[in-house]
Symmetry: C2
Subunit: 411 residues, 2 copies
């Protein structure tokens, strides 16, 4: 089956916002086994919209339009679908009630324009919007589907998951299941090299790699019959990949690295503190991103200058003898941070973000991670490639990974 | 004149990467005065590519294709353009030399496949690639242009700026100039309300608003004749907008807020330290993002627990009497941080990121920023809307903005 995506909105055409909806939808449709050959963006213009729908419907089985469901005259997506289908627009009673309730709850006044959001092509199946005022809808024509979803990414995602995905599964006579394997410390090509034969040999489940800075994610997706258990297909492949990649896998359920570290700390009833030079506060910030961090994160320090490192407790002699960018300094930073905060474990970063080498001649990208706990302290040396931003992002991930490995008794 | 963008690549269609190239190109073409009505994405498939080029060339004056310039069999973009134009592919001598030099410099071996990157539709104007191995090209047909650019965003951007933009300016008989006004602390609709008459009255320069979390940017773009000075058109409009928006404008040249704060600190020969609860290290991390931060940033602390705040020097009585989320705590955090680090100025954040209110009943989004310097200390109360991530991002910006205002004698 072939899917197609049309993103609607002049702000997309003008480059005012980046089109993350298209990526999300493409990824989801791909997961549900749709082939995708075209994706396009058009502005809020009736003729061009109808033309784009005609072109797409000639070549796909499922068309998803996103955006253009607002209350203003500019918002034409549902009307364009009605025009393509030759159907009138009809007001939906439940949608009117929902709209009235939503606005009343927020103490907002309804203008006549708002009721446009409760109108749909006649006979459409309406998709409720749990995060906003604009419902979406699905229309069927000649065995094909046209779905209309709202533009704001969180509304789109919620409506896809709760409204459209179940419909698709129902129609498709099969059930889909995806697992996300997250890998840190191993490059994209190294990962692909290690598991190339597994990827090539698989048709169900399929395996799709997604790379980002310093880490990557492998999506394993299986399609099974309605009464089958997709896990029976997915789990053995996940296991096989984990055997190949070993410790580099930090989650087989798509959990982020800061969350994995926090979960380990909570399980082991341990606390952490962080002393950051190179990473400059980003490790703490990533940990704080997760609700409930205060249970495990006792304190953080950003020690960008030698003076601040010494104030924390790194010895001046160490910095003079080995420099601030050294294994010794990384270890002493972690040890001193742990003493000050009284945490079970402490992690520290020091290195050269760049651009260019530091005053002492250390190359850009060289960095050290120190970890201290009740058993003592260790430091690891790393080299990251790329810009200042990439070096710092890599250092954050690798520092968290050192904590993960230490907590697992593997460092 | 009408422009159109075709993004080429199966990884885009499959949702493996988000299409930032299309946003960049749309924004640039818009700046150069092109109308944009369609934008599309197709995979690495010859027939579909040629069809997409035909469709686009029927309705535009300038077509930009991005992606598909690699050395593998999958990369077909230039070949598709040649096929559309009915031209053979011809090897370019200079491109071969450049390729040999690039690979030799990196100690890499050239495979026969690599030379595909030195082949172009006959007669094409070649665009050198300063960041990679794949040159782009521009072909002319019937007064219209087809430009082919590489997919990696930094290569695309560099080639657009140095290769394609000058060609466009030359053909367009006019010169373009843009200024970026950055605004913090004022919502998108408030900004648009304040300057709506200016936006509506302007045709040259044009004014385009771009909103992001907690701040927004206004692009002011003028088109002038070859021998005219675009600044003469742009500057008065920039001034007019600044008069309306006053202190909310932090840069009229697109500089980021952390950089503006760092520049002010350097100009005034001052240093800073940061005590973060709510923002959890992100203020420091944003400052550290800028090379040369060590001149001004003496120290940072992430004090997520009451104990850590007290260890820094906040009095236990203050926290017990007013709670950790209070003006008093924010001020004492800033004062204590300044004492410990010896910095000229210190800034502190404390608040409720959510989800939901804190144990003391403070609502999600409520936060305080404390600032301390040689004149004493102040605290400001703010309320941010949205998710945990949005609340924290807003707090980072508003805290930096408090420092900016304090340094300018306006807080």
């Amino acid at each position: 089956m072939t899917g197609e995506i049309i993103s609607v909105g002049t702000e997309l055409l003008m480059g005012m916002i980046v089109n993350t909806d298209a990526q999300y939808l493409a990824n989801e449709l791909n997961k549900y086994g749709f082939n995708l050959y075209h994706q396009s963006t058009v502005g809020d213009n009736m003729n061009r919209l109808v033309e784009a729908i005609e072109t797409a419907m000639d070549r796909c089985d499922l068309l998803i339009l996103s955006g253009g469901l607002g209350p203003t005259e500019d918002d034409l997506t549902k009307e364009a679908v009605a025009k393509y289908l030759g159907l009138p627009m009809v007001q939906d009673e439940q949608a009117v009630k929902d709209l009235n309730a939503y606005m009343a709850q927020r103490g907002k006044t309804i203008t006549p324009n708002n009721y446009r959001q409760a109108e749909f092509p006649a006979g459409a199946h309406i998709l409720r919007n749990s995060c906003g005022t604009a419902p979406g809808c699905v229309c069927e024509t000649g065995g094909k589907l046209i779905a209309v979803l709202p533009g704001p990414p969180h509304e789109l995602k919620a409506m896809f998951e709760s409204g459209l995905a179940p419909l698709l599964e129902e129609r498709m006579d099969s059930k889909f299941c995806s697992r996300y394997i997250r890998v840190v410390g191993m490059g994209e090509s190294a990962v692909e090299y290690e598991i190339k034969d597994i990827i090539d040999a698989q048709t169900n489940p399929t395996i799709a790699p997604y790379a980002s800075v310093g880490e990557m994610c492998l999506r394993v997706t299986a399609a099974v019959g309605k009464d089958e258990d997709p896990d029976a297909l997915v789990e053995p492949v996940v296991q096989k990949i984990c055997e190949r990649l070993g410790d580099y896998v930090y989650s087989t359920h798509g959990v982020t690295l800061p969350r994995v570290v926090e979960d380990l700390l909570k399980q082991q009833q341990k606390t952490i503190s962080v002393a950051e030079s190179l990473s400059g506060g980003q490790i703490c910030s990533d940990l704080v991103e997760i609700p409930g961090t205060s249970e495990v994160l006792l304190e953080g320090a950003v020690l960008y200058t030698d003076e601040a490192k010494i104030r924390l407790g790194v010895s001046q002699e160490t910095i003079e003898r080995f420099s601030a960018v050294s294994e010794q300094t990384a270890r002493e930073m972690a040890e001193a941070m742990r003493r000050r905060s009284g945490s079970s474990i402490a992690v520290a970063t020091t290195g050269v973000a760049g651009p260019g080498p530091d005053a002492g001649g250390h190359p850009q990208g060289l960095f050290y991670v120190g970890v201290a706990d009740e058993q003592g302290s260790v430091a690891c040396e790393f080299r990251a490639r790329g810009s200042r931003v990439r070096v710092r992002s890599t250092a954050v991930l690798y520092a968290l990974d050192c904590v993960r490995r230490r907590l697992l008794g593997k460092l």
